[in-house]
């Protein structure tokens, strides 16, 4: 009797569930779950099954879905990788793990935000901005450039996220391409001299600025919007508008080579690249649409922002070169 009950219980525990998962498309994404999940659920609205998703975020400090895809590369489990930035997408491209796919919906995406061969395609973008606490910094002294971070007047009052991870790494690579090695290293040495606070994530920088613990710091536009939505006393500055411009970070999709359901993966990519999704990403996550014809209330149009001229593929190589030095800089 007891043994029978125990066996039944065990069967129940091990029962995989009713849903046939053999045809489900699988997506790995490093876009914040709070934004990505509702959009992925929308995919299921037209009679399709919702994708099976694995989420990650730079804040979790996990090794990330990118490394999971690399670890799984012998037997890929994901069909699509939806990256929060083009760098991770390009790492996969460089490792030969991406299957080129030119989605018909990508036609209206500007050429600088996608690969010609369709190995990655960008859409809804963030930008690297300076979040300023208006209580601590008078309007006249509001920083206008990334270089204001090394202004001794703000010593101990500035923060960046750990440059080893996420969009901050990409930002360092972009600065290195724009300024060259020597100037970048000098800038980072000056950041140390200026007692920069190295936070665990951009979200943490946002919290530091919003709470007034520091005067300003580098974050992504979605973090800045979050602070603005919370009615914190902050303002968002697109840096270097009269110089090299602001780094734009589009999200990017990649079709995984030899993924289990490539056809459905393509379907998902087509869906993600629709203007409706780009708009939804703007509304939900304050991502700026790359399509010039799209406008989202409360989100700056990309057309009005002077963007840094960067070749994302070059940045991906630059990151690999810079990482040992960055690790040293971070004391790890």
């Amino acid at each position: 009797m007891h043994a029978g009950l125990a066996a039944l219980g065990l069967l129940f525990l091990l029962f995989p569930g009713c849903r046939d998962q053999s045809k489900d498309v699988t997506v790995y994404t490093s876009v914040d779950q709070v934004f990505a999940e509702p959009i992925l659920k929308d995919f299921a609205r037209d009679g399709r099954t919702a994708p099976r998703s694995a989420f990650d975020t730079e804040e979790t400090k996990s090794t990330g879905v990118l490394n999971r895809i690399i670890a799984e590369s012998a037997h890929p489990q994901a069909d699509v990788f939806w990256s929060g930035d083009p760098m991770r997408a390009l790492v996969l491209v460089q490792k030969g793990l991406a299957e080129p796919y030119i989605s018909p919906n990508a036609a209206s995406i500007p050429a600088e935000y996608k690969a010609n061969d369709g190995s990655w395609t960008g859409f809804g973008a963030r930008a690297r901005v300076v979040l300023v606490n208006t209580d601590k910094v008078p309007a006249a002294r509001t920083p206008r450039s990334v270089k204001d971070l090394i202004n001794p007047a703000f010593k101990g009052q500035i923060a960046i996220a750990n440059p080893l991870y996420g969009t901050t790494t990409m930002h360092v690579a972009a600065l290195s391409r724009a300024w060259g090695d020597a100037e970048t290293r000098a800038f980072f040495a000056d950041l140390r001299k200026n007692d920069v606070r190295v936070a665990s994530s951009n979200g943490e920088v946002r919290r530091l600025v919003a709470s007034g613990e520091i005067a300003f710091g580098l974050v992504d536009t979605d973090d800045a919007h979050e602070a603005l939505a919370e009615k914190a006393h902050v303002t968002m500055v697109f840096p270097d508008q009269d110089g090299m411009g602001t780094l734009v970070v589009p999200t990017a999709v990649v079709l995984i080579k030899n993924g289990p359901h490539s056809a459905r993966g393509r379907e998902l990519i087509d869906f993600l690249l629709t203007p409706q999704v780009e708009k939804a990403l703007g509304e939900r996550a304050a991502h700026m649409p790359l399509r010039k014809e799209l406008h989202v209330d409360g989100v700056p149009d990309l057309g009005g922002v002077r963007a840094m001229k960067v070749d994302y593929a070059e940045l991906a190589s630059e990151i690999t070169r810079l990482e040992p030095w960055l690790r040293q800089w971070a004391g790890l």
Partner: protein
């Protein structure tokens, strides 16, 4: 009665059972870590492979912080454990048990709770408190609260297993506090020492709390070699070696203390009968409970208005986590019983298997998880990798050692003659295990199950890397939602997690009480 160590004949039946348990350890620890080592040795070479001098400084700093946490957990945990062992009334003991609750949450949520309390805009907001929280002091404080329950639970078990005559003899010549300090606690030292090894290891591998509280620690150096764009498992493995080495040294020290655990726990009366809980002890236990509960209360308070908004975000994550934890706890207990028994009875190769499982526990979780992906994704095991079973597989590798250790300690305290008598009556190994060893140690069995269940329910660092898409446990969901998610919703989900864990743990506790 002499105890035959190491030369007791083992039957074919025992060898078969132990081989099965060893196979589980091999599949969940040796194979994944082996796959990682193989990939690291034969993969592409990378620069900067030696541990640079700066990381040794970081290591020393991390060890110092971990020692601080040891002191903190001792100060909080030992008196609370004594109070738990002394409390005679059910209601009082239940109230004291609340102090154990923080163990049910990933420590990062205690850090978040503490930040809710002293952060800007909170009731106790102050620059000084904020500075203290975001620094080494805050790290030691949060980790001490998070891990003190490990020490209190083991102190409780240690005191409960002492022969009451020990205390009675001492009471004739010394005052109650002196008896506690000079007789009872030193006699429970083996249990407390094991707790401290766990605390030290968990502190050294903790990553989320130090990164949230902006404290530089060594585990970040391991992660930096895996979490960046240029992942290098080889470097990560190399950098992990000091963590594993220090943990094993501590364990060896604890082992020496464990050699003292002997005799017959089965026939002992419950100790401490008639010794009331002194007011000082009571007050300290109350402080420990309040300290542990305050961040949780802060979480619940913050999430109070968002419970309905949080429900749609739950998905199947509660069931995913609970199911994985129960299956893991069952599997870990199933291997923990024969292995723990064999370790305690001195079977050499059972000790080798035990050591393998300990490597799984001591090594940074991210390494084991990455190994699970490399080993299990492909060939015959792909089906398991794609199913929810992959969660228990990795978790058994991570926490299986806890079940083995718990049962080994318990077996050491049970006279071998019970099994000998059964063997001479013609009973084979399995019959002795099922009919004698397990019934005599049913509390240890439930303790092993409960311990593994708790650690699985709070796990995030292992499962986050390889959970099946769409099958994430609540802790992982909490973590991924924490980025840019509404703080109210996240706090509400964390509160639900505490509730679900408390309910899940109530079952083994209820069974123990029913058995008593």
């Amino acid at each position: 009665m002499g105890r035959a160590v190491g030369t007791r004949p083992s039957s074919l039946e025992q060898r078969a059972v132990l081989a099965a348990a060893a196979a589980v350890a091999a599949l969940t620890v040796v194979w994944p870590l082996g796959a990682l080592v193989h990939g690291a040795l034969f993969g592409a070479a990378s620069a900067d492979e030696l541990i640079p001098a700066r990381t040794w400084t970081l290591f020393a700093r991390s060890v110092a912080l971990a020692l601080g946490v040891l002191v903190g957990t001792l100060l909080l945990g030992v008196p609370a454990g004594v109070a738990l062992a002394r409390a005679r009334r059910g209601a009082l003991r239940a109230a004291l048990c609340l102090h154990l609750l923080p163990l049910a949450l990933p420590p990062s949520f205690l850090a978040l709770g503490a930040a809710q309390l002293v952060g800007p805009g909170s009731a106790f907001s102050s620059v000084l408190l904020s500075k203290l929280l975001y620094g080494p002091a805050g790290f030691v404080f949060v980790m001490s609260i998070a891990l003190a329950p490990v020490v209190s639970a083991m102190t409780w078990v240690g005191l409960a297993s002492l022969d009451p005559s020990l205390e009675e003899a001492a009471r004739l010549v010394a005052s109650r506090p002196l008896v506690l300090a000079k007789v009872l606690l030193p006699a429970s030292a083996p249990f407390i020492a094991l707790a401290l090894v766990l605390v030290f290891s968990l502190t050294l591998s903790e990553l989320a709390v130090p990164s949230l509280l902006r404290v530089d620690v060594y585990s970040a150096a391991v992660f930096a070699r895996l979490g960046g764009f240029r992942a290098s498992p080889r470097e990560a493995l190399l950098v992990s070696l000091p963590i594993v080495a220090v943990s094993f040294v501590l364990l060896a020290l604890a082992h020496r203390l464990f050699a003292r655990v002997a005799g017959d726990l089965v026939l002992r009366r419950e100790s401490g009968a008639g010794t009331p809980l002194g007011p000082l002890l009571m007050a300290h236990a109350a402080v420990a409970a309040v300290l542990g509960l305050t961040p949780l209360v802060a979480l619940v308070a913050r999430g109070a208005g968002s419970f309905s908004a949080a429900v749609p975000w739950l998905g199947a994550s509660v069931w995913n986590g609970l199911r994985a934890a129960i299956v893991t706890a069952l599997a870990a207990t199933a291997i923990g019983v024969p292995l723990g028994h064999a370790v305690a009875r001195g079977l050499r190769w059972a000790r080798v298997v035990d050591a393998c499982l300990l490597v799984g526990f001591f090594a940074p979780a991210v390494l084991l998880a990455l190994g699970v992906v490399q080993a299990w994704n492909g060939g015959l095991t792909t089906l398991a990798y794609q199913s929810f079973l992959i969660l228990p597989i990795g978790l058994v590798g991570r926490y299986g050692a806890l079940a083995v250790r718990t049962f080994a300690v318990s077996t050491r305290g049970v006279a071998e003659a019970y099994e000998d008598a059964a063997e001479l009556s013609g009973h084979g190994y399995l019959a002795r295990l099922v009919r004698i060893t397990v019934p005599l140690q049913w509390r240890a069995l439930l303790a092993a199950f409960g311990l593994v269940l708790t650690f699985c329910l709070r796990d995030v660092e292992t499962s986050i890397l390889y959970y099946p898409p769409g099958g994430e446990p609540l802790t992982v969901r909490l973590f991924t939602l924490e980025a840019n998610g509404s703080p109210g919703v996240v706090c509400a989900l964390a509160s639900m997690h505490v509730l679900a864990t408390a309910l899940a743990l109530a079952v083994p506790v209820w069974l123990v009480r029913r058995g008593q």
